[in-house]
Symmetry: C2
Amino acid sequence: MHALIFDLDGTLIDTVYAHVFSWQRAFEEAGMAIDGWRIHRRIGMSGGLFARAVAREIGRKLTDEESQSLQHRHGEIFMEISPQRRPLTGAVELLKFLKENNVMYGIATSGRRPEIDKSLEALGVGDDVVVVDRGIVVRAKPAPDLFLACQQRLGVSPLECYVVGDAVWDILAARRAGMLSVGLLSGGYGEDELTSAGAYRVYRDPSELLTALDELGVLD
Amino acid sequence: MHALIFDLDGTLIDTVYAHVFSWQRAFEEAGMAIDGWRIHRRIGMSGGLFARAVAREIGRKLTDEESQSLQHRHGEIFMEISPQRRPLTGAVELLKFLKENNVMYGIATSGRRPEIDKSLEALGVGDDVVVVDRGIVVRAKPAPDLFLACQQRLGVSPLECYVVGDAVWDILAARRAGMLSVGLLSGGYGEDELTSAGAYRVYRDPSELLTALDELGVLD
């Protein structure tokens, strides 16, 4: 019994650059200008952790209220500039193939319902798929909680799970969960960053992963 | 006699993520959806080359009119979502330090006037600085023409020039010009991508480069 546990943003849905831009605008409006690349490399962490990490770059702590307000404003801008959600190349086909070939999979994301609902809909992910979101666990990535909650619901041992993600936070959380991981370049990290973090393999996007499933040993 | 030749977007000015988002929207409006990371990794090429490269990803050639129209629409969206230009951390201080210490420098960008005027203004770059833009040369990066035109105006041999850039296209164009290069992470590439392309050193941003000028041997 094997299973694939997917991250959502940057792994299955093409939202990373809209998130970076939305965070950058939210911080700027709050008088805290921060370089785009520093935001990019922190996307995929829990929102609270992210806001605090970015605040450290700015050089002062944020109050809980400020952090909440930044997260809220980020969400507003994101919905405004990115009303549509577009699956990454090959994402829909990959999930379809896994289903047809009885390879178990789930989704574990630092995002929250209802914000992620449009993404799931765009992917054609229905109620039959295990989806673990930020609201279900106490700590989001890079803590292992999201992946462990997903694995438990799938009923597969951590050693039999591959995490598929685009950020070093996915790879780190996978290691802390005792799982192997596969990196995708579709979130804008470089191959070496993902390999150095511990990814077993790195593929360009879901489309290339689909052609390489044999390398993971998850097909019968 | 040494000189530093700077790229502009992603190297001195924090515009890469706004450019990615603007290109993505321009292509989407034209019915050509393309993944954000593929755009990101092509930023910094000449606009025409960029539009054709992206079109190849989509699988069909663009007419010259389509290419022009995409570039025009990208410019419109960029100006709309990003009315302000923000220097990257340490960029203003770096240029000021170079001037005060009589280290020659110039700017060579695939961007065009008047689009780049706001960026130069935000950096405090006046008429006394050599600025070579896309309009001056036949071929933009990764051709060496921009860097060679800048070096000739500075009157320094290519072997005495360091190109400073954030994209592999800067590093490639520098090699084709017979120049050394320094990479910055501030455009969102990974360190290894820049080193593999041939960068002599990689720093986080202009601020870190300022503290490391001794490593380049450009100070008296």
